[in-house]
């Protein structure tokens, strides 16, 4: 699995989650760009990423996330890809 694959899977997951089939996200996207991506949704999305990819993040790792790209990199690091 490459970083692009993980990004694709993440975007797919978020499109489903927000029920926005046309949601456009790239590595530079942030939560601010998505109206419904509030703090509650963020917690659930991170839990969803953990479930989807079978990984678990530490609190400090989650707090350091700034963009979708950071999240992709974190998944890659956790999975040792």
């Amino acid at each position: 699995m490459t970083k692009d694959d993980i990004l694709d899977q993440l975007v797919e997951m978020m499109r489903d989650y927000f029920d926005e089939p046309d949601l456009a996200l790239d590595r530079d996207s942030t939560a601010r760009e998505v109206a419904e991506w509030d703090s509650l949704a963020h917690v659930n999305i991170i839990a969803g990423v953990e479930s989807t990819f079978g990984v678990r993040f530490a609190i400090s790792e989650i707090e350091s996330l700034k963009s979708v790209g950071d999240l992709v990199d974190l998944v890659v690091a956790k999975k040792g890809l």
């Binding site: 997951m13 489903d16 989650y17 029920d19 917690v43 659930n44 839990a47 969803g48």
Partner: protein, 626 residues
């Protein structure tokens, strides 16, 4: 992840959701069947968004109960549980509006008559107080701990009274056992420990809640079954103050909604039980009384017995039992009357239906005879095709997935929550016998259900071959084992069957049936012999009863006629030789369009089919060689 394992997994869930929402008018039946599948929290949140948009103006029509308005209030984050409450309602063909109070403001909201909570005008109130909030105060002695519990209970009572005065259904969640032990096994010796005091509080809640007419949402059994780690994630507590982790939200929502559904009279009243491979192992019609698996000393036999014990205990608290089995009635009753290990007796069953009609028709008949709605039936059947048929034909019937192993059956039914009961009365305890008497008085008219659509959806394929060495042992097994769907009950050993392979005067067919649930394996065997010029006689025709009612007989005849015609046959002779077990096929040839030639005094009959006039029989099965 906690799975809703009593609900069916739907492989193309996402595609179905897309389809259900894109149809011109909102497809509520499709959407609620997606809610009634085994889904996780991501799917739950997604479906909730879709339902919210689709029915933004007004709730769907055809609901099973009036809209419920649930106010949720408590001390920690609760908003992540709201979608699961709404989806658990949809799962039951109900609609829930949910109001989640401000974080930690439960006291103010309940006290203030003008609060948003009261303005929401709820019909039900869920109070969820988290353990750290309840036991935030530092306790210094056993006396202080006891005093704290008493104070907590008084405060709860005061809150409940506010809501009960307005006629609300009040549900109070027990405290989750998330506090660390200080001494372990000897926690009780630290009289002031919060973990120990929490256990005391939970125990004391029960009597106070009962006295106040409040339902407890007791999380302990679910947490014990699933494990606390699946219900509470310390990371999510610290990050988001979710005491119930979002991953457990679907399970939590279902636990709450089963209480609300039970109060609305939406729980199952009647357990409808299949017999073969459900109440016992094996097929009574084929294996006989001595051959079925039931009773002590055999793992599978004990598992089937455990289901019987569970069903019997349910009748003692007011659940009605019915039987719905594809069997000759005499065969189906035999174990009830004669098997020494049967726990359930004929007198436990209020309505006993054993015949060869489709089960949707039979469930309607059971409901009619018992004078209850089909939406109060809980249907227990090991056969996934029967379960799918009922879910499709009667979506209001509760149909748990049972798993592959009889040892799972009891837990799956119990976990479904479809038997949730609130108040139990003396009436409950004698209800089963009342219903039995009623059923005997009433004779219901059998309805005919349109089964064509279901059969088409099975996308059945019949693979046929003449006898060969590969299939030899399975053919021999079927020829020597099948009793019920067996026209002549002629037995042949492997050597005799092998001799038929190269015999030019024998037409033979071994048939497999595949459907959307998988490969049913070899399900039918036919042998015909060319007797005189232009004539063939069907020596053997047998079929597994598992695939009854699917049109497999018609497909088999079409294949046999094809082969016979290729050999120049113009006249096909069929015989029915009665046995103790094969009454169900007495009219087999008549149903397929054969003409009666003669009827013997022993009940046998001989039939003829004119192949020069034959047109293939309609059926929903595609036939291929292979």
């Amino acid at each position: 992840m906690i799975e809703l394992e009593w609900l069916p997994a739907v492989d193309d869930w996402s595609a179905r959701l897309t389809q259900a929402r894109s149809s011109d008018s909102p497809d509520w039946p499709a959407l609620r069947s997606l809610a009634a599948s085994s889904i996780d929290f991501l799917q739950t949140d997604r479906l909730d968004r879709v339902l919210g948009k689709t029915f933004a103006g007004a709730p769907p029509e055809g609901l099973a109960a009036p809209v419920v308005r649930i106010a949720v209030t408590g001390s920690a984050t609760l908003s992540h549980l709201a979608p699961a409450l709404r989806i658990a309602a949809a799962r039951r063909n109900m609609w829930a509006e949910v109001h989640v109070g401000e974080y930690g403001q439960y006291h103010q909201e309940l006290e203030d008559p003008d609060s948003a909570l009261w303005q929401f005008n709820p019909t039900a109130l869920l109070i969820a107080l988290d353990a750290r909030h309840l036991f935030a105060r530092q306790l210094n002695s056993a006396e202080e701990a006891a005093g704290h519990v008493a104070q907590l209970l008084d405060r709860c009572e005061a809150l409940w009274a506010k809501a009960r005065a307005r006629g609300l259904h009040v549900i109070h969640q027990t405290a989750m056992p998330v506090l660390p032990q200080l001494a372990g096994n000897n926690e009780h010796r630290v009289g002031w420990s919060a973990a120990g005091t929490l256990a005391v509080y939970n125990e004391a809640l029960r009597a106070r809640a009962d006295a106040a007419g409040v339902d407890l949402l007791d999380l302990s059994p679910a947490i014990a079954a699933d494990g606390l780690k699946l219900w509470h994630d310390p990371a999510l507590w610290h990050r988001a103050k979710q005491e119930v982790t979002i991953r457990a939200a679907p399970a939590y929502g279902d636990l709450v909604m089963r209480l609300i559904a039970a109060r609305a009279g939406r729980s199952a009243k009647c357990l409808v039980l299949d017999l073969d491979n459900t109440l016992w192992g094996g097929v009574i019609g084929d294996d006989g009384l001595a051959g079925i698996v039931l009773g002590q000393g055999n793992a599978a036999g004990e598992a089937h017995l455990a289901l019987q014990a569970y069903a019997r205990d349910l009748t003692r608290r007011g659940v009605i039992l019915a039987v719905c089995s594809k069997n000759d009635e005499a065969n189906a009753l035999e174990p009830f009357d004669q098997h020494p290990d049967m726990l359930l007796r004929r007198s436990d069953i209020a309505c006993f239906v054993a015949n060869w009609q489709d089960k949707a028709t039979n469930l309607r008949r059971i409901a009619a005879e018992l004078n209850i709605g089909t939406d109060t039936l809980l249907f227990v059947d090991d056969n996934p095709a029967e379960r799918a048929l009922i879910r499709r034909e009667l979506p209001e019937v509760m149909v748990p997935e049972l798993g592959d192993d009889p040892s799972l059956y009891v837990d799956r039914i119990a976990a479904s929550g479809w038997l949730e009961a609130t108040a139990l009365t003396d009436d409950d305890l004698v209800r089963a016998s009342q219903y039995q008497a009623n059923a005997q008085r009433t004779a219901a008219r059998a309805d005919v259900t349109d089964i064509d659509a279901y059969l088409r959806s099975l996308t059945m394929e019949m693979r046929w071959r003449s006898f060969d060495r590969i299939g030899l042992s399975r053919v021999a097994q079927l020829i020597n084992k099948s009793n019920q769907f067996n026209l002549t009950t002629r037995r042949y050993n492997e050597a005799e069957i092998e001799a038929m392979i190269n015999d030019p005067a024998v037409l033979s067919l071994q048939l497999r049936l595949l459907d959307s649930f998988g490969d049913n394996g070899m399900i039918s065997v036919l042998i015909a012999r060319l007797t005189e010029a232009g004539t063939a006689e069907i020596d053997t025709w047998l079929m597994s009863c598992r695939v009854l009612g699917r049109g497999a007989e018609a497909a088999a005849l079409n294949l046999l006629v094809q082969q016979a015609q290729a050999c120049g046959v113009e006249r096909l002779i069929g015989r029915y030789l009665p046995s103790a077990k094969n009454g169900m096929v007495a009219a087999h040839y008549e149903k397929l369009g054969f003409v009666l030639l003669e009827r013997g005094e022993d009940g046998s009959s001989t039939w003829q089919l004119d192949l020069t006039q034959f047109t293939p029989l309609p059926c929903h099965i595609e036939c291929t060689e292979g």
